[in-house]
């Protein structure tokens, strides 16, 4: 008798649905994944629901409401392995811009009945609330990396997700450096690989949607950008997009904001 297939659950918190959509976007492998794992909870795709424990939980989105701060604890308790997917879940996402906002000023953009709404003043990554077994980055995540994480789970091995910078992917792809050759400000040197270095291949500088690479040298990049006549204000803005609340980007943006 073959053992029961591990159960997969997909959970959503504050997010755009793009990362869980990636699971449906692995078109050629979707039915294989459905064969290897029992897709037990995935409301975006199925009405079916299996209660109980899940061997693998994929969590999308950030924590922005008191209710969600509670719900993530319940998800953790039900999950043997919990993997966060995407910039919202791993770094608070674009929603984390509220973490620097003057909340009263936000409130001054008046809506009819703000009392109907229940929210927190912050957007925080899942690991600020519960233990996370693995973080898969990206805004959105890469489908190849998602398959790698699922495959690693099935074989009980560590996912092979490199922490080096996008620059490595440009070299592998044979893309001439847009910063050196075209003078386009690029965040590639401080951004984790995984997207396949798409932006430089389209004559555009990387905008950091995979978050910081391991030990990013942000001061060095800032000096290069200065030579390209990028102001500190624009540098802070570039650091504060989809991974603004990751520790490295956050520290740097606060330091350069003080200087600006």
């Amino acid at each position: 008798m073959s053992p029961a297939r591990p159960r997969l659950a997909v959970w959503k918190f504050a997010s755009c649905d793009g990362c869980q959509l990636t699971l449906l976007d692995i078109e050629d492998h979707l039915l294989d994944v459905a064969g290897a794992l029992d897709i037990a909870y995935f409301p975006e795709a199925t009405k079916g629901e299996v209660e109980g424990r899940y061997q693998l939980s994929l969590v999308e989105g950030s924590i922005t409401t008191p209710h969600d701060a509670e719900r993530i604890r319940e998800v953790r308790e039900m999950s043997e392995t919990l993997v966060t997917i995407g910039a919202c879940a791993t770094a608070g996402g674009i929603q984390a811009l509220r973490n620097w906002a003057d909340v009263d000023e936000y409130l001054s953009i008046v809506y009819a009945e703000p009392r109907y709404i229940d929210t927190l003043s912050t957007s925080t990554p899942i690991e600020h609330h519960v233990r996370v077994d693995f973080e898969l980055r990206g805004c959105p995540i890469s489908k190849h990396q998602l398959i790698e994480v699922i495959d690693a789970f099935c074989h009980q091995r560590k996912p092979g997700i490199p922490r080096h910078s996008v620059c490595v992917e440009c070299k592998l792809r044979g893309t001439a450096c847009v910063m050196v050759a075209q003078g386009i400000p690029c965040m590639g040197p401080i951004t984790q690989a995984g997207c396949g270095a798409i932006c430089p291949a389209y004559d555009r500088g990387c905008y950091g949607c995979f978050g910081p690479s391991q030990d990013p040298n942000i001061d060095s990049l800032a000096a290069w950008w200065k030579r390209l006549e990028v102001s500190d204000v624009d540098l802070v803005r570039a650091l504060r997009t989809f991974n603004a609340y990751s520790p490295e980007f956050r520290e740097a943006s606060e330091a350069y904001e003080r200087r600006a």
């Binding site: 755009c16 199925t46 809506y111 004559d203 803005r237």
Partner: protein, 430 residues
Amino acid sequence: MSAEREIAVDYLARVEGEGAMYLKLKGDVVEDLKFKIFEPPRFFEAFLVGRRFSEAPDITARICGICPIAYQTSACNAMEHAAGVRITSGLRDLRRLIYCGEWIESHALHVFFLHAPDFLGYESAIAMASDFPERVEAGLRLKKIGNRLMSVLGGREIHPINIRVGGFYRTPTRAELEALVPDLEWALETAADTARWVAGFPFPDFERDYEFVALQHPGEYAIQEGRIGSNRGLDIAVEDWGEHFEESHVAWSNALHARLKTGGSYHVGPLARYALNSDRLTPRASEIAEEAGLGAVCTNPFRSITVRVVEIAFACEEALRLIDGYERPPRPHVEVEPRDSVGFGASEAPRGLLYHRYDIDGEGAIRAAHIVPPTSQNQLSIEDDLRAYVPGRTHLPDHELQWQLEQAIRCYDPCISCATHFLDLTVERG
């Protein structure tokens, strides 16, 4: 028969985002009915303030991972309108072409994965795959073809990176686009076959007299620009949206409800586009609509699945036409210099009209932003549908009535993630 019954669905499945439904019946009378959106509010309009006008396409794309091109296009339209720039010829064609990819991808997801299982009695497409493997595989391949068109032009299918105010960062070569032709030809014929399949689904006998609202454009089935029209004589420029429509905030939804100032609910999306523009469909798509028995207007929301398939066929045929006539533009984008002004932009997201308005200063910083996504415009129409659907069906057992009402909601392909982006809120300080 005056017993009270309550039917509550706490978490609607197979919709994008977090929604719920509540129905209270007293005998045959609907006492209370709510389509609830409890997706956490997200502050997009608030944090766009102070950002550069050029950042709006990438930031607003993050409102929705399923229709990012819609957000990017409406944002570009608005910023170009503010700057007094118009995108023409080849760049305009490319913008329409990538949008075709999004319609194919998003409609294929809805038709095969979110909606067809309802009619065939499955919990999901994955469960459906054992009995209908060819259909599910065809659906996956259609979706992949839409995604591939988006990634060739946009760099990737979710949150494409190649769209900018004024055009693109890099335009594709003719050879890159021609490589898509065989797949698109296959997709067109698969859509024709799929239309025959879904046209035979068991549709409830249910018609509604909607006010349909959609973009209209002379000579083409409007996608990426146009004037706002309706089947009751509305014909306005996008910048006049605020004179004819208004939004209100109700306690049970984290998304604002939009309505016509002159009346109540209105309907946006495939049925509305089809009702207003079916005479401008491409030839093969017209034939497919006729074969499926659609007529010039379709007012049964359950048959929106057929209209979506017709729109998949249209998007494939239109993409083939655009690729056939493609010549690489001399420059990937036109320069857009910001000026102190207000810009308006709209486009037809897969789920319907998507309206953006930005107030920008002379340096290009955003002073105010206003975004009205399709699902917030359809909320009232969804509730009106449910209210009209229940009478005469109250004899059904709860689980059957609930299943049918959930289906009625899914007819709209509601994107709840989209709908919750423009609320302000009370803040609990932690």
